[in-house]
Subunit: 143 residues, 2 copies
DNA sequence: ATCTAATAGTTTGATAGCAAACTAACAAAG
DNA sequence: CTTTGTTAGTTTGCTATCAAACTATTAGAT
C-alpha cells in the first residue's frame, strides 16, 4: 500500500523504518538484552532524561497506545528496570521511574543508538542529513 | 532508541512510518476491508502488477520474512483473493496469483494509497518532495 | 548413482501492538 | 451532596511479525 503508483516516498520510508527496527532488535540481543524491544529502550531513555513520567506522558513520548504501554512498563517493572507508583495527589495517575538497575542499561542504549545513526547516515553528507531531518520534521509536524 | 541523542532523523522517520501504517489500517476498515492489513495490500498490488510471483519473490518485494508471508498469503487465499499452486518445474516453489475476486479490490487500494500520499506530502512543495524521495532512496539503497 | 549442500517454504513459539470495552478516580454543575 | 461527564489506566481479544527449527525438493560433486 505504500508504493502503489509512482510516488515511492512512503515506500522507502517504511522499509527503512522496518530495517531500523530489526537492526535495533538484533543489536539489543547481541548486547545480552534479550526480551527487550526498541520501544523498551525509548521508554527507559525518556525516563533517564526526565526522571519521572506518568503513563500518559510516556505514551505520548514513545507514540504507542496506552494499552501497549501498560504491557511494556509492567514487563520492565517485573524485570526490575522500572518502578511504578500511584501519585498520591491524584490516585488515577501512575508515576514511572528508572531503578538503579535500569539506569545501568542506558550506556548500552546509547551505543546501539549511535550505531544505528551510522547505518542510517553513511550514504549522506552532513548537509544532506540536515536537509533530510528538516523535511522529515515538516512531514511529521503536519500530519 | 530512535532519538537518544540529538540526531532526530530516525525518530521522525519511525513515527511517520507508524502513523502511515495506522492510517492505512483505519482506511482499509473504513472501506469495509476488515481483516486486511497494509501488507496484504502490498501483496495484492504486487501481484496485480506482475501477474504471478513465487513466495520468495513476494517476500523480497514486501520486505517481510518468509514465515510471515506464509501466514498472510494463506489468509488471503482462504478469503478467495489469491491462488497458490505448486510450480510443476520445481516442486519446492509455490506460485501465487490474484483471483478475479482479488483483482476487484485493487481500485480500493489505489484510492487509499493516494490518500496516504496526500497526507504525506501536504506540507511539502513539489521540489521538496523530490529531494526527500531522493535522500530516502540513498539511505535505503546503502543500508 | 549416491552423498552432501543449498534452496523454498512451513510450522512453532513468542512478542509488540492496536482497538474496544472496562474500572476507578476526579471534576463540575446544580 | 449527588449526578453526570471526563480522564488515567487496565484488561481482553486479536493480528502481524520475527527467528529458529523443521520438511521437502533440487543441484552439485565425486
Amino acid at each position: 500500500m505504500y508504493g502503489v503508483l509512482n510516488d515511492r516516498n512512503i515506500y522507502y520510508l517504511a522499509r527503512i523504518s522496518d530495517k531500523a527496527k530489526r537492526f535495533l532488535t538484533r543489536e539489543l540481543r547481541r548486547h545480552g538484552l534479550q526480551g527487550l524491544a526498541p520501544s523498551d529502550g525509548d521508554i527507559m531513555v525518556a525516563l533517564f532524561k526526565r526522571r519521572q513520567l506518568t503513563m500518559k506522558e510516556l505514551s505520548g513520548i514513545i507514540d504507542r497506545d496506552k494499552s501497549t504501554l501498560t504491557g511494556l512498563v509492567d514487563k520492565l517493572a517485573r524485570l526490575g528496570y522500572l518502578e511504578k507508583k500511584t501519585d498520591p495527589a491524584d490516585r488515577r495517575v501512575q508515576i514511572v521511574s528508572l531503578t538503579e538497575k535500569g539506569g545501568r542499561l542506558i550506556p548500552d542504549f546509547i551505543t546501539i543508538s549511535l550505531k544505528l545513526q551510522e547505518m542510517f547516515s553513511r550514504a549522506l553528507s552532513a548537509h544532506e542529513k540536515d536537509t533530510l531531518v528538516n523535511l522529515l520534521k515538516k512531514v511529521h509536524d503536519a500530519w
